[in-house]
């Protein structure tokens, strides 16, 4: 799995940090999403998928490699 974020459309709602804190963070200066782990594995990958589903601005994109 690879994660791509469109930071310029993030609204800082923090859903991603709430459900997948090992993958996402919010930057100290603007509260917008920051990717900590672009290729999470195992349970972290599942949490990242949940974050992508919940993100209210739909700016988290998951690319699965075959």
């Amino acid at each position: 799995m690879r994660i791509r974020i469109e930071r310029e459309r993030c609204v800082g709602a923090g859903q991603c940090v709430r459900v997948a804190p090992a993958v996402f963070d919010q930057a100290d200066d603007d509260g917008l999403v920051r990717l900590i782990e672009a290729a999470p594995q195992g349970p972290e990958a599942e949490r990242a998928r949940k974050a992508a589903q919940l993100c209210p601005a739909q700016v988290i994109h998951i690319e699965d490699q075959g």
Partner: protein, 401 residues
């Protein structure tokens, strides 16, 4: 469509205090949305299915959330006036919305909100101490549900707590279903003027609070004017009071009416967090927002929403959609309710949601720990539910211990 004549008058009355009006489930079984007639005779749509509500809230190109739009739908005449005069980002479309919201996202980050938990804990303990000292019976709404979010907000804003009755009065004036346009607008102006005075005071004597930080970071650097900040501050104050208050009253009622749930939460505080999420889904206190207006004709679920028609994305309805939540009318703290829409969806999704979650978790955990014998002091029939408000909850909750 012949439904034009038949479109029922909205809003509807509840039949059960715990469930949204029965029309939602009936209409949802037939279609994702149905037409209604508003107080002014305008035709609008109520969207009852979760998937369509989410899709519309993401479709900024075809649906506007601009409250000043002449066709923006409202459930009261008073709301038209305050919506037209809404100057904060809750009433803006992009790109303006994100530009303003982002000046505040840092203040509401998950980490910032976590740092407020010890302060919330102290406030919850103090309020419960006071309630215990005064002795039973007590009205949990007046004692805790109203005061606690207010104290949390006054810490966040660095505003004097004595001002809280005034602030609550301003929030309630917007969220009622019976105010005149003049009353609602007067309160909106008074609250913005109040925040403007707070900004001036903080500019002279900064503190360790949100208002002082935003002044230093955005006002003094020219990104945000003092008047814009006053409007946004007023909006945040309104948004942070009533909603959380009603969740505390309703959540406490859900715990106290169900001995098994109460025993489970008392025995295992780790269950508080999932319980709060389920209470949020089940209660859905915000009744008539989010709203949108169609910017062009849009075909959805077999009907055409015409350009200029309004839509209510009903959160209470979406949160009871059986396509997403099995057995939706049951409180089940073990279910996966992560898709609940209680904080809205899309770019306007609640900025204060983490604050609200932590406030609720701390309050319910503290209540159960401090008052194991807490019980309702009256039968359910003696509780007055807020059928007269745009934010649902209880007016009173008499308890004893």
């Amino acid at each position: 469509m012949s439904a034009v004549a038949a479109a029922p008058r909205y809003p509807f009355a509840r039949e059960s205090p715990f469930d949204p009006p029965p029309q939602f489930a009936r209409e949802r079984a037939r279609a994702p949305l149905f037409p209604v007639t508003l107080w002014n005779g305008a035709r609008a749509w109520v969207v009852t299915r979760h998937a369509e509500a989410r899709a519309i809230l993401l479709d900024d190109a075809r649906f506007s959330g601009r409250m000043a739009h002449p066709d923006f739908p409202t459930v009261t005449e008073a709301r038209v006036t305050v919506d037209r005069n809404e100057r904060a980002f809750v009433g803006m479309d992009n790109p303006e919305h994100d530009r303003y919201r982002r000046l505040f996202t840092r203040e509401f980050s998950v980490r910032r909100m976590q740092a407020l938990i010890p302060g919330m804990q102290a406030l919850a303990d103090d309020l419960i101490d006071d309630m215990i000292a005064a002795g039973p019976p007590a009205d949990l709404v007046a004692r805790l549900a109203v005061r606690y979010p207010s104290l949390v907000m006054s810490q966040l804003f660095g505003s004097p707590y004595e001002d809280h009755t005034f602030i609550i009065g301003c929030a309630v004036a917007r969220h009622g279903l019976t105010q005149t346009p003049g009353e609602a607008e007067t309160k909106a102006r008074e609250l913005a003027a109040y925040v403007r005075r707070l900004i001036d005071a903080k500019e002279r004597a900064p503190g360790d609070d949100m208002v002082s930080r935003v002044i230093a970071e955005h006002v003094l650097t020219g990104r945000l004017s003092r008047d814009e900040f006053a409007e946004i501050g007023a909006m945040i104050l309104r948004a942070g009071h009533d909603t959380t208050t009603n969740m505390i009253g309703m959540g406490a009622l859900l715990i106290l009416r169900d001995d098994a749930l109460r025993a489970r939460l008392a025995a295992d505080p780790a269950q508080i967090e999932p319980a709060v999420e389920e209470f949020l889904r089940y209660v859905s206190p915000v009744q008539f927002s989010p709203r949108r207006v169609a910017l062009e004709d849009v075909a959805i679920g077999g009907v055409t929403v015409k350009k200029g028609e309004g839509l209510f994305l009903s959160l209470p309805a979406a949160n009871r959609d059986p396509r997403v939540f099995a057995d939706p009318d049951t409180v089940d703290i073990g279910r996966d309710n992560s898709m609940h829409m209680t904080f809205g969806y899309g770019i306007h999704q609640c900025l204060g949601q983490m604050l609200a979650r932590y406030e609720l978790q701390v309050m319910f955990a503290t209540l159960l720990r401090r008052l194991p014998g807490l019980r309702l002091a009256v039968p359910l029939e003696a509780i007055r539910f807020k059928n007269d408000m745009q934010i649902y909850g209880v007016h009173n909750l008499p308890v004893a211990w």
